[in-house]
C-alpha cells in the first residue's frame, strides 16, 4: 500500500513537471497561428522552421554556449569544492563566503556587474563575454552541489591513500572523482540547464551579432509567441532527450 502511495506521488509530480511540455508539443501541431484552441493537425510549423535559418543559428549558439560553459564550470567548480574541503590556505573563509555571495546575488545584479567589468576591460560583447559570464555564474552552483556531497565523507580515506603513497593527483582522480561522480554529473546537468535557460545575464553581456535562444524567444513572446517557437522547442526537447539517454547509457556501460 505504501509502495503504491509513493508511486502515485512520483507520477503526480512528474505529471506536474511534464504537462506543460506535453501541451507545448501538442500545440506545435496545432493548425492555428495564435489561438490556444485546437484547430486540427499540421506540420506547417516544422516546415517553417526548416526554412528559418535565423532561428536555427540562434539555437546552435545556445547549445554551444551551454556545453562549453557547463564543462568549464564543472571543472573549475569541482576543483574549487575539493580545495575548499581538503586544503587550508589564506583567505579560505573569505572564498567560501564569496561563493555564497555569488549565489545570493540575483542574476540581474550579476549581469550588470559583468557588463560593467567587460566594458571596463574593453572586451567587445559577443561569444566570449557570453561564455565567460555563463561559466562564472555556473561555478558556484557546481561547487555547492559537489561540496554538499563531500561533507560527511570520511577524511581518513584521504589519509589512508596518502599513507599508501598516493600523490594529490592520484587521490583526486582515483578517489575523489569516483566518489563525487554523481555530484559532478548533477553539477554539469545543473550548469547546462542554467546556461540554456538564462535570459537576464545573457541579455546584458551578449553582443547584437550573437543571439541566444532564450533572448530570441523572450523578444518573440513580447511580440506574441509564434507556433514556430513551439515547434523549435519540441525539436530541441527531442534532441536533448536523445542526447541524455545516450549519455546515461554510456555511464552505465562504464560502471559494468
Amino acid at each position: 500500500m505504501n509502495q503504491i502511495g509513493k508511486l502515485i506521488y512520483l507520477i503526480v509530480i512528474y505529471l506536474f513537471l511534464y504537462a506543460p511540455i506535453l501541451v507545448l508539443i501538442v500545440y506545435s501541431f496545432n493548425n492555428s497561428s495564435y489561438s490556444l484552441l485546437w484547430k486540427g493537425f499540421t506540420f506547417q510549423w516544422y516546415e517553417n522552421l526548416l526554412k528559418n535559418t535565423d532561428l536555427q543559428i540562434v539555437a546552435l549558439h545556445s547549445l554551444v554556449v551551454g556545453i562549453f560553459s557547463a564543462t568549464g564550470a564543472t571543472m573549475i567548480g569541482t576543483i574549487a569544492a575539493v580545495s575548499l574541503y581538503r586544503y587550508r590556505f589564506f583567505g579560505k573563509k573569505l572564498l567560501h563566503g564569496l561563493i555564497f555571495v555569488l549565489i545570493v546575488s540575483p542574476d540581474i545584479v550579476t549581469g550588470i556587474s559583468l557588463l560593467i567589468l567587460f566594458s571596463a576591460v574593453k572586451i567587445p560583447l559577443g561569444f566570449w563575454t557570453l561564455l565567460l559570464s555563463h561559466i562564472t555564474f555556473c561555478i558556484p552552483f557546481v561547487t555547492i552541489t559537489v561540496y554538499s556531497r563531500l561533507v560527511g565523507h570520511d577524511r581518513n580515506l584521504f589519509e589512508a591513500a596518502k599513507d599508501l603513497g598516493a600523490t594529490d593527483g592520484i587521490i583526486f582522480s582515483r578517489i575523489l572523482v569516483p566518489l563525487l561522480w554523481p555530484a559532478i554529473v548533477a553539477g554539469w546537468l545543473l550548469s547546462f540547464t542554467l546556461s540554456m535557460d538564462d535570459v537576464m545575464i545573457s541579455f546584458f553581456v551578449t553582443g547584437p551579432e550573437f543571439d541566444v535562444l532564450p533572448l530570441k524567444i523572450f523578444s518573440m513572446v513580447r511580440a506574441g509567441v509564434k507556433p514556430e517557437v513551439n515547434a523549435l522547442c519540441s525539436v530541441m526537447f527531442v534532441i536533448t532527450l536523445t542526447m541524455v539517454i545516450i549519455y546515461q547509457f554510456l555511464v552505465w556501460k562504464k560502471q559494468k
Partner: protein
C-alpha cells in the same frame, strides 16, 4: 560583485556620488514591492520544499537502476526554455483552458474560474520553474543518507515522526538549506513569470529592477535596488549561519 556595482552605478551614468537613490529606496512603493516579493518567494520556497522532499526521498529510495532515470526526468523539462514553459502554463490555466475544462468536466466547479493574471498563477509558475532546483540538492544529500541509521532508530523504538525529525531531517539539512537558497532567490527576481502569468499587481523585485533598466532608463536607481536586494540576501544568509551553530556541516 556588489562593490563593482556600487562603483558602477555612478560610473555608467555620471561620475557623481550621491545617496539620493538609497533614500528613495525607503519610499513606500519600493518597500511594498520588497515585502510582497518576500512573501511570495517564501510561499514558493515552502511549496517547493513540501513537494520536493518526499519526491527526492522516493527517488533516492528507488532501486539502483531506476534512480538515474528518475533524476534524469526531473532535469529534462528544464533543458527546454523556461519562457516557453511559462507560456505553456498559460494554455493550461486560462479561462477556457485545460484546467478549467477538466474541473468542470469533473464537476468540481460549474463555471470557469479566473486563474490567469492572479497571484496563484504566478505562484504556480514559480514553483513549476524552480522545483528541480529544490529536488537536485535534496536528492544529493538524501541519497548519501545511510539507511542503517533509520533501521537502527526503528529498532530502538523510535516512532516514524521521531525518525524523521531527529534523524532524517538533521542529516539532510545541508540539502534542504541549499535547496531553499537556490529557490528563494530566483523566486524574488524571475521577472518574466509574473509578466506572463500574473497581474500588474504581482510585481516582483526583479520586475522593478528590469523596469528601471529597460523602461525608465534609470540605471543608478536600478542598481541601488539591486544592491539593496543583495544586502537583504546577505542578511538572510548571515541569520541562517547564526541559527545553526554547526555551520561547518552546512554547505
Amino acid at each position: 560583485m556588489t562593490s563593482i556595482l556600487v562603483q558602477g552605478d555612478n560610473e555608467l551614468m555620471r561620475l557623481q556620488l550621491t545617496m539620493d537613490n538609497y533614500l528613495h529606496l525607503f519610499n513606500s512603493h519600493y518597500v511594498r514591492v520588497f515585502l510582497r516579493s518576500f512573501i511570495l518567494a517564501g510561499i514558493c520556497t515552502f511549496g517547493c520544499l513540501v513537494l520536493a522532499y518526499p519526491f527526492s526521498y522516493c527517488i533516492a529510495r528507488l532501486p539502483e537502476q531506476y534512480k538515474g532515470i528518475g533524476l534524469l526526468f526531473v532535469i529534462i523539462p528544464f533543458w527546454t526554455s523556461s519562457l516557453i514553459r511559462s507560456y505553456a502554463i498559460v494554455a493550461i490555466l486560462k479561462t477556457h483552458g485545460i484546467m478549467n475544462t477538466f474541473l468542470m468536466w469533473a464537476g468540481i466547479i460549474c463555471a470557469p474560474v479566473q486563474l490567469m493574471y492572479t497571484n496563484t498563477a504566478t505562484l504556480i509558475g514559480l514553483i513549476y520553474t524552480l522545483l528541480p532546483l529544490m529536488i537536485l540538492p535534496l536528492y544529493v544529500s538524501i541519497e548519501k543518507l545511510d539507511v542503517q541509521f533509520i533501521d537502527a532508530a526503528r529498532d530502538l523504538g523510535a516512532k516514524k515522526y521521531q525518525v524523521f525529525f531527529n534523524i532524517i531531517l538533521p542529516l539532510t539539512l545541508p540539502g534542504v538549506l541549499a535547496g531553499c537558497l537556490l529557490v528563494f532567490l530566483p523566486a524574488m527576481t524571475l521577472f518574466y513569470i509574473p509578466d506572463l502569468l500574473g497581474s500588474a499587481k504581482t510585481i516582483l523585485v526583479g520586475n522593478i529592477i528590469q523596469n528601471q533598466f529597460l523602461a525608465a532608463r534609470d540605471w543608478p536607481m536600478g542598481a541601488t535596488i539591486s544592491v539593496a536586494l543583495t544586502l537583504l540576501m546577505g542578511i538572510i544568509l548571515f541569520v541562517y549561519w547564526r541559527c545553526y551553530p554547526s555551520r561547518q556541516e552546512l554547505l
